[in-house]
Amino acid sequence: MKLKDFQDKFQRAILAGDDAVLKGIPDGPHETKENLLGIYRDAYVLRLIDVIAADHERLHTYLGDDSFRVMARAYIAANPSRHRNARWFAQRLPEFLRSHAPYAKQPILNELAALERALNDAFDGADAPVVSMADLAALPPEIWGGISFVPHPTATCFEVSTNVGAIWTALKAGNEPPPVHGSETSRHILVWRHEMTPLFREMGAEERMMWVEAGKGTRFADLCTMLAVYNDPGSAPARAAGFLKAWLDAGLLTRVVTERIGAQ
């Protein structure tokens, strides 16, 4: 049998339970060939369950070990790895939980997986310098209207429908998580890395709007205008400044771009 054909057969033995490759395998001195091939079959699944468990400790706790393993096996069967690095294997787990029964009926599961995924991605995401309040304060006030911002490369924002943040926090502390709450209004979670630590918080609708627009390169003056249209125009500049200060304090911005002076 050619090497290529052998590898096809061996891989099918592991992924699809096809026993054809056994024809060319002798029994071992102490064990049958079926059980020896079974070592590879078992190891394939168990190893990937461990990979998922390492990436999703909170989901594991939330589901309990037995249910987690059932879920993990279903994910593994549906998603053979196409990555060199097992670090990326569970990348599609949130999507899987969103779209597959019975998990699709419980949005908290895919949202918990998504939050963990985002925190993992922030953990080893790209390094980048961080802009501080002092950096901004050094710019002449007259140009502030024209500045725009570049978010830190590890920052990501996504919509959720549950109190997943509170549940994650309780699980992390080893406490009983609160009951799942839905929301009539949309909620958003912002995840980023500050120095070496991945962090997250909820983002209100107005701040989220400003964050998304800022990420597109919208100038600060225009962000203030948008906030004025969104709500109370009188306090819009103060609200915008408050959001900006919070982003700077949290290390959420990596660059300030000025219209006349150039990038800081």
Partner: protein, 316 residues
């Protein structure tokens, strides 16, 4: 063709040209292929040990880093790696090269190895003599090869290619195996010996894997040991395994067992002083426990080698 497709196509051909140019430039370095230095006694670098290593100055001569763990964009893994590299010699050890696969190489992965090597300046780069998947799938396991002439020729051509891409001789580890194949035309050590002779690649001799495979297939581990060309072995792995009575599994989650220490002593007597490392991948104990095991390896080497053992590692 759209402008975007044209851009992507020209980017791809530029990368291909760069890779081909690097290979041509690297041929001489591979041909010369100086033997890596003797590093002494090392450990696998594991995240739970980072702080104890950096704060404690433990009695470890070098570290082996898992390449894939540091092929990320940034954050703690690379920050820790940079600090380790400043203080210790390192070697890179990968699990994804899939040298024996009939699938094409992942060229981005090879680029990633080169990028990491620029950062870590490893004393050598190693991976496993195995395959990990075909048809774009990665089974994340070190899968066995039938030891045929066809497989040998195939692996030789792949090793030649990788050595040119990396600009250095590759170091390959013997894996633990649980099945054999009727079509094999030679023993594993004969396959490895011929591979190292024809490519000049180095060998990472995993003592535990030899023990595991020998038990599972019913041959004498010493035959394996004696069948390997002594001058190609540049590193030993020592690790623990799980004894399932009718088979043994290379689980790397136990201390090194007595039978493997005995085989290690025999390996020292056959190969002389070789950079030695203890691998622990699961149930990782405190660093202090690993250091006790490493000291045991030192003591056995002292006893086995006597005056032949280098006084200290020859590389900083």
């Amino acid at each position: 063709m759209s402008d975007r497709k044209k851009g992507a196509a020209s980017g791809k051909s530029a990368r291909q040209e760069n890779r081909a140019a690097s290979r041509a430039a690297n041929r001489e370095a591979v041909k010369v292929g100086e033997r890596p230095p003797y590093l002494g006694f090392g450990l696998g670098l594991r995240p739970p040990h980072y702080r104890d290593i950096l704060d404690g100055n433990p009695n470890v001569d070098w570290f082996e880093v898992i390449s894939e763990n540091y092929m990320v964009a940034g954050g703690q893994p690379l920050a820790m790696l940079d600090q380790i590299v400043e203080r210790y010699p390192v070697v890179m050890h990968g699990v994804s090269l899939s040298i024996a696969s009939t699938a094409p190489f992942d060229e981005d992965y090879l680029d990633g190895l080169n990028k990491l090597a620029k950062r870590t300046q490893p004393k050598w780069i190693s991976d496993h003599l195995c395959w990990t998947g075909v048809h774009g799938v990665n089974l994340h396991d070190l899968l066995p090869i039938p030891y045929t002439c066809e497989a040998l020729d195939h692996v030789i051509s792949r090793v030649d290619y990788v050595q040119e891409r990396l600009g250095r001789r590759l170091c390959l580890e013997n894996v633990s195996t649980y099945v054999q194949f009727d079509q094999s035309e030679m023993m594993e050590w004969e396959f490895i010996a011929e591979l190292t002779r024809r490519t000049g690649c180095w060998l990472l001799f995993d003592v535990n894997n030899v023990y595991v495979s020998a038990f599972n297939h019913g041959y004498d581990a010493r035959a394996f040991l004696n069948g390997i060309p002594a001058d190609r072995v540049v590193q030993f792995h020592l690790a623990g395994h799980s004894d399932m009575e009718t088979y043994v599994v290379d689980t790397h989650d136990h201390p090194v067992r007595e039978e493997v220490w005995d085989l290690y002593t025999a390996a020292l007597e056959r190969f002389g002083p070789v950079s030695t490392m203890i691998e622990r991948d699961d149930d990782i104990p405190p660093l202090a426990d690993m250091l006790v095991e490493l000291d045991h390896a030192r003591a056995l080497a002292e006893r086995a080698l006597g005056s032949k053992r280098p006084a200290r590692p020859t590389a900083a």
